[in-house]
C-alpha cells in the first residue's frame, strides 16, 4: 500500500540523490531543517525529526531511501547529519538548497551556543544545566526510539534483514566494532544473500 511512489519508478531502486526536485521549496526546506536543528538528542534526535517531516508527513522519501541515505551519510567524515542535510538540500533545491538546509540545521545550536558563551559566568551555575537531564533529554530519547521503531518496521519480521540488524546491533553495542566496517559488512552480506531476489 505504501509502495505507490516506488511503483512509478519501478523497476529501479529508490531514486537516491536523484535530481527529482519538487515538493519542497527553499522556504519549506529551511523550515524543515530549522525544526531538525531544534531537536534534542544529538544526531538521532535530528534523524527522528527528518523522518517525521520528510518520510511520514510529506512522503517525499520512502523509508528505504531514507535509511540508505543514512547508511551512506555515516561514512562521510563530517558527521552523519551534516551529510544528510547536504544530501537533502541538494536533492530538493540544488546547491543553493544545501546552503539553505545547512543554515537552518545549525542556526538554533549556533545562536544558543554563542549566547551561552557570551553569558559565560552568569550561567555556569544556572538551573538550565540541572533541569535538562530530567526533562527534555529523556523525552528526546523517547522520540528517537519512536522514529527508530518506525524506520525499522520492514526489518522487524522473521528473515535475513532482522538477522543483519541484530548482528549490526551486537557488533556495535556489545563488541564495539567500527560503524563503517559494520555497514560495509551488512552491505556485502545483503549482496550475497539477496542475489536474485527481485524484491531486494
Amino acid at each position: 500500500v505504501e509502495r505507490t511512489r516506488g511503483e512509478e519508478a519501478a523497476p529501479a531502486p529508490p531514486a537516491l540523490g536523484s535530481d527529482d526536485r519538487g515538493r519542497l521549496g527553499l522556504f519549506e526546506l529551511f523550515v524543515v531543517f530549522v525544526k531538525a536543528g531544534l531537536a534534542f538528542g544529538g544526531g538521532l534526535g535530528i534523524l527522528a525529526v527528518l523522518e517525521d517531516e520528510l518520510v511520514k508527513k510529506r512522503r517525499t522519501l520512502s523509508p528505504e531511501e531514507f535509511l540508505a541515505v543514512y547508511g551512506i551519510g555515516r561514512v562521510i567524515p563530517s558527521g552523519t547529519m551534516t551529510a544528510l542535510t547536504i544530501a537533502y538540500g541538494s536533492r530538493f533545491a540544488g546547491l543553493l538548497g544545501t546552503v539553505v538546509a545547512l543554515t537552518g540545521m545549525v542556526l538554533p545550536a549556533f545562536v544558543l551556543t554563542v549566547l551561552l558563551t557570551a553569558g559565560y559566568g552568569y550561567l555556569r551555575e544556572g538551573a538550565l544545566f540541572e533541569v535538562l537531564p530530567i526533562t527534555i533529554l529523556p523525552a528526546a530519547l523517547a522520540f528517537i526510539l519512536v522514529a527508530a521503531l518506525r524506520l525499522g518496521k520492514h526489518v522487524f519480521r522473521p528473515g535475513f534483514d532482522l538477522i543483519l540488524a541484530a548482528a549490526a546491533f551486537v557488533g556495535s553495542y556489545a563488541v564495539g566494532l567500527n560503524t563503517a566496517l559494520l555497514l560495509v559488512a551488512g552491505g556485502l552480506a545483503g549482496l550475497l544473500f539477496f542475489r536474485g531476489d527481485r524484491r531486494a
Partner: protein, 175 residues
C-alpha cells in the same frame, strides 16, 4: 595562535572523529589547553557543557571555542569548517546512483539499510545508558514513550507533559 591555525585544527579533528563532538574533546584538550595554553580547562568544559544543553548537532560547540578566542567571526568560521567535509556526500551519492541500477547494488543497499537499523538501536541504548541515570529520567522517558508511541500524541504536547512531569517529580523528590 592565529584564526587560521584554529580553523585548521578544528577541521582536522572534526574529520578525524567523523564529526563526533564528544570524541573531539581530548584532541582539543591536548592541542588548545595543554600544548598551546590558549584556552583554560574550565573554558573547554564549559564549551562542552553547552553542547549538551543545546539542541542540534553535538559538534557545534566548537562555535563556543571560536567565540571565546576570536569573537563572532571565529564562531561563524569554526562552524563553517566542520560542515564543509559534508559535501563529500554529493559525489558519494552520485557514485551510488551510477551503480544502483545493478541488481548487486540493490542487495548491498538492502543489507546496508538493515544494518543501519541495528546501528540506530545500538546508539539509542548507548545514549539511554548514560542519560537515564536515575528514576526521574526513566519515568519521563517511559511516559513520553507511551504518549508518543501508544497514544500518538503530538510531539509538542508530549514534550510539554515531559517537562512538567520531570519538574514535578524533582519537586516531589525534594520534599
Amino acid at each position: 595562535m592565529s584564526l587560521y591555525e584554529l580553523l585548521g585544527l578544528v577541521f582536522t579533528f572534526n574529520v578525524m572523529t567523523f564529526g563526533n563532538g564528544p570524541v573531539m574533546i581530548p584532541l582539543l584538550q591536548e592541542s588548545l589547553v595543554e600544548q598551546r595554553g590558549v584556552l583554560s580547562q574550565d573554558q573547554l568544559l564549559y564549551a562542552f557543557t553547552i553542547a549538551r544543553v543545546t539542541p542540534g548537532q553535538a559538534n557545534v560547540y566548537v562555535a563556543s571555542i571560536g567565540y571565546m578566542l576570536f569573537g563572532l567571526p571565529g564562531a561563524i568560521l569554526t562552524t563553517a569548517v566542520i560542515l564543509l567535509p559534508g559535501y563529500l556526500m554529493l559525489p558519494a551519492l552520485r557514485l551510488y546512483r551510477r551503480f544502483s541500477a545493478a541488481g548487486a547494488v540493490r542487495g548491498f543497499t538492502r543489507g546496508l539499510t538493515s544494518a543501519s537499523v541495528g546501528l540506530i538501536f545500538a546508539a539509542v541504548v548507548n545514549i539511554a545508558r548514560t542519560s537515564l541515570d536515575s528514576w526521574i529520567p526513566w519515568m519521563v522517558f517511559l511516559v513520553t514513550l507511551a504518549l508518543a508511541q501508544l497514544l500518538k500524541l503530538n510531539p509538542i504536547i508530549s514534550l510539554a507533559v515531559a517537562v512538567a512531569l520531570g519538574l514535578g517529580l524533582r519537586f516531589l523528590a525534594g520534599l
